[in-house]
C-alpha cells in the first residue's frame, strides 16, 4: 500500500474520470453547440457543388473516403506532417519509447531478473506509461542557489538538439525532414551542441555531483567527437557526397560495412561514448556520483532529458544504418498494393469494401524502405543496449587513452583503406559500385 495515496481505489479513479467526461459533455451541449450555431448564423457559408455547406454536410463528406483521402494525402505531403509525425519527432519518439521498455526488460532477462512486471496485465507492458505519469505529476525542485534561466533552459535545449539530430536521418527514399546537401556536416554541428548543454546544465545546478558529472561528460564527448568525425570520412570519400540520402542510396549493392569494417567499429565505439552508455557511462556513474549531471533534475525536466537521450540513441543508430548498413536498401518483401481496391473494391463474404480511388497513401518502395530501416535500426539499438548487461564501467583515464590514441589511429587506418579501395579501382568509376 502506498503511503502517499493510502485510500486510492481504482473504482473511485474511474468514477472521477466518468464525472469529468459527464461535465465536459454537458458543458459542450449547453454552451458549445449554441455558440457554434450562433457563429454559423452570422458567417455566410460557402456553396460547394450547388449545395450550401452546413455542418451536417461537412460531417457527411468527412465520412466519405473518396473526399477525405485526398485531404489526408495532401496533409501527409506537408512539412508539418514530416516534422511532427513520420520521419520526424513522433516516429523517433515511438521508437525511443520502445527502446526504453525493451532495454529494461532485456537487461532484466540477461541478469536473471524479472524487470517491469506489475504495470499492465502482461509483462509490465504499461510500465512506460506509468513512469511518464509519475514524472509529469512530480514536483520540479530547483536547487536554492541554482542559476535558474540556464537550469530551466537546459533540458528543453537538450531535447531540441536531439530532435534536430533526428531531422537529418532519412528513413525511406524521399522521406527525410531536412534533405540538405551537407547533411553529415549538419550532424557534426548538432553533435557539437550536446557537450555545451550538458556542461551548462551541470554548472547551473550549483551542486557538486552534477558538476563532476558534467566535466566528465565534457571530456568524454569532446574527445570522442574527433574519432567520430574521422571514422565517417571514409564513407564520404567512397560516396563523394555529404548528403545522407545520397549516401544511403549509393549502397544499393553493397553496404559500406563490407568495405569499411574498421570505420564501422570505431564509429560504434564512439557512438557508445557520445551516448554515455555503459561501458562509457562515467557522466552518470550512479554508484559514484549519484546520477552525474542529472542529479538535481527532477520531475518532467528529468523526463525531458531522458526523452532527449533516447531520441539521440535512435538518431545515432539511424546514422549507423544510413552510413554503414545501407539505409532503406534491402529485399522487397512488402507485397504490391492490390489494384482491384482502386477500381472495383474487395468483396469479403457479404461485405464489399471500396472502391477507394485515392488509396495507396504510401508507395510500396516507401513502406519497404521504412520496414528495412526500422529492422536494421532495431538491430543496431539491440547491439547498443547489449553491453549494458555485460560490461563494467571503465576509468576516465582508460577512456581518454582509448579515444585519443587507439580510436584516432584506427580511424586513420580506415581512411587509408578507403583511399586504397578508390585508387585500386575496386570502388568508384568502373569498380564494383
Amino acid at each position: 500500500m502506498s503511503v502517499i495515496a493510502p485510500k486510492f481505489k481504482l473504482s473511485e479513479f474511474i468514477k472521477s474520470l466518468l464525472d469529468n467526461i459527464f461535465w465536459i459533455i454537458l458543458l459542450l451541449v449547453l454552451i458549445g453547440v449554441p455558440a457554434v450555431f450562433i457563429i454559423l448564423f452570422v458567417i455566410p457559408m460557402p456553396v460547394i457543388d450547388g449545395e450550401l455547406l452546413t455542418p451536417f454536410l461537412a460531417l457527411t463528406w468527412l465520412a466519405d473516403p473518396t473526399r477525405i483521402l485526398p485531404v489526408v494525402k495532401a496533409f501527409m505531403g506537408t512539412d508539418i506532417f514530416r516534422v511532427m509525425a513520420f520521419p520526424g519527432f513522433g516516429f523517433a519518439a515511438l521508437l525511443a519509447a520502445g527502446t526504453i521498455f525493451v532495454e529494461r526488460k532485456m537487461l532484466a532477462k540477461l541478469q536473471l531478473r524479472v524487470g517491469p512486471f506489475y504495470c499492465g496485465k502482461f509483462e509490465g507492458i504499461l510500465q512506460l506509461m506509468g513512469d511518464g505519469l509519475k514524472l509529469i505529476s512530480k514536483e520540479i525542485i530547483i536547487p536554492a542557489k541554482a542559476d535558474k534561466p540556464i537550469f530551466w533552459a537546459a533540458p528543453v535545449l537538450f531535447v531540441a538538439a536531439a530532435a534536430a539530430f533526428v531531422a537529418f536521418i532519412p528513413v525511406a527514399p524521399g522521406w527525410v525532414v531536412a534533405d540538405v546537401d551537407l547533411g553529415l556536416l549538419g550532424v557534426f554541428a548538432v553533435i557539437g551542441f550536446f557537450p555545451i548543454i550538458t556542461i551548462l546544465s551541470a554548472w547551473s545546478a550549483n551542486s557538486k555531483f552534477p558538476f563532476i558529472g558534467g566535466i566528465r561528460a565534457l571530456f568524454q564527448m569532446v574527445s570522442f567527437e574527433i574519432p567520430l568525425i574521422l571514422s565517417l570520412l571514409g564513407v564520404v570519400m567512397l560516396t563523394g557526397s555529404l548528403n545522407l540520402s545520397e549516401i544511403a542510396a549509393s549502397q544499393s549493392v553493397f553496404p559500406w560495412i563490407v568495405f569499411l569494417p574498421v570505420g564501422a567499429i570505431v564509429f560504434f565505439i564512439t557512438m557508445l561514448a557520445e551516448l554515455e552508455r555503459i561501458p562509457f557511462d562515467l557522466p552518470e556513474a550512479e554508484s559514484e556520483i549519484v546520477a552525474g549531471w542529472l542529479t538535481e533534475l527532477s520531475g518532467m525536466m528529468y523526463g525531458l532529458v531522458q526523452l532527449g537521450t533516447y531520441l539521440k540513441l535512435y538518431a545515432f543508430a539511424g546514422l549507423f544504418v544510413v552510413l554503414f548498413l545501407g539505409g532503406w536498401n534491402g529485399p522487397m518483401i512488402v507485397p504490391p498494393f492490390p489494384a482491384e481496391l482502386l477500381t472495383t473494391g474487395i468483396t469479403i463474404g457479404p461485405i464489399t469494401a471500396g472502391p477507394f480511388p485515392g488509396l495507396p497513401l504510401f508507395t510500396q518502395e516507401m513502406l519497404n524502405g521504412t520496414l528495412m530501416f526500422v529492422l536494421k535500426t532495431a538491430g543496431v539499438i539491440f547491439f547498443i543496449l547489449l553491453p549494458r548487461g555485460v560490461f563494467p564501467r571503465i576509468r576516465v583515464d582508460m577512456l581518454l587513452n582509448l579515444g585519443w590514441s587507439k580510436l584516432i589511429g584506427l580511424a586513420f587506418v580506415n581512411i587509408f583503406i578507403a583511399l586504397g579501395l578508390l585508387y585500386a579501382g575496386v570502388l568508384g568509376p568502373g569498380g564494383l559500385q
Binding site: 540538405v180 556536416l185 557539437g192 551542441f193 556542461i199 565534457l218 569532446v222
Partner: protein, 170 residues
C-alpha cells in the same frame, strides 16, 4: 527578405559581442560569445557558403566555446583578473573601436565590393576541394604542416612526466 535577415543577424552578432564584453557573469559572457559566433555562421549561410557556416558552428560554437566555458568554470576569476576600469579607459576603447571600424569600412567600400553581382550560383564545395589539391596545393601542404606542428607542440606541452619511484621524497 535577405536584408531583414542580414539586419537581424547584425543585431544578434554585435549585440551579443557587446554583451560578451560587458556581462559581469563570465558564464553568461561565454554564452553571449557563442551567440556572436553563431551570428557569424548565419552570415556565412547568407553568403551561400553553408560548408563554412557548418564548420563555423561545429568548430567555434561546438569546441572553442566549450573550451572557454570550461576554463571559466574551473578558474576563480578573483585570482586572475584585477579590475582596472575607469571612464577614460572606456571612452578610449570606444573611440579606438570607432576609428578601427571606420578604417575597415573605408577599405571595404574602396575594394569595389558594390559592383559584385550577387545572382551567380553558389560555388560547389567539391570545386573548392579540387582547387585545393590542384592549384593551391602549396597552401594546403603549408596548412597541413602548421596544423601538424601545432598539434605536436600541444602534445609536447601537455605531456607529463610521471613521477618515478626513485624521485619520490622519502
Amino acid at each position: 527578405m535577405a536584408d531583414a535577415v542580414f539586419l537581424a543577424l547584425t543585431v544578434i552578432t554585435i549585440g551579443s559581442a557587446i554583451a560578451a564584453l560587458e556581462m559581469r557573469s563570465l558564464i553568461y559572457g561565454s554564452i553571449a560569445l557563442m551567440g556572436t559566433l553563431g551570428g557569424v555562421a548565419g552570415f556565412f549561410f547568407l553568403l551561400d557558403a553553408p560548408f563554412v557556416a557548418l564548420f563555423q558552428i561545429a568548430v567555434y560554437v561546438g569546441s572553442i566555446a566549450v573550451l572557454i566555458l570550461f576554463t571559466v568554470m574551473l578558474v576563480k576569476r578573483e585570482l586572475i583578473f584585477k579590475k582596472i576600469e575607469d571612464k577614460r579607459r572606456k571612452f578610449a576603447g570606444i573611440g579606438l573601436m570607432l576609428v578601427f571600424m571606420v578604417a575597415l569600412g573605408a577599405v571595404f567600400l574602396d575594394s569595389g565590393i558594390k559592383t559584385i553581382t550577387t545572382d551567380e550560383p553558389a560555388p560547389d564545395f567539391r570545386d573548392i576541394g579540387i582547387d585545393f589539391v590542384t592549384y593551391y596545393w602549396p597552401a594546403l601542404i603549408l596548412m597541413g604542416l602548421i596544423l601538424a606542428g601545432s598539434v605536436t607542440g600541444s602534445l609536447v606541452l601537455a605531456r607529463r612526466e610521471d613521477v618515478e619511484n626513485d624521485q619520490r621524497a622519502n
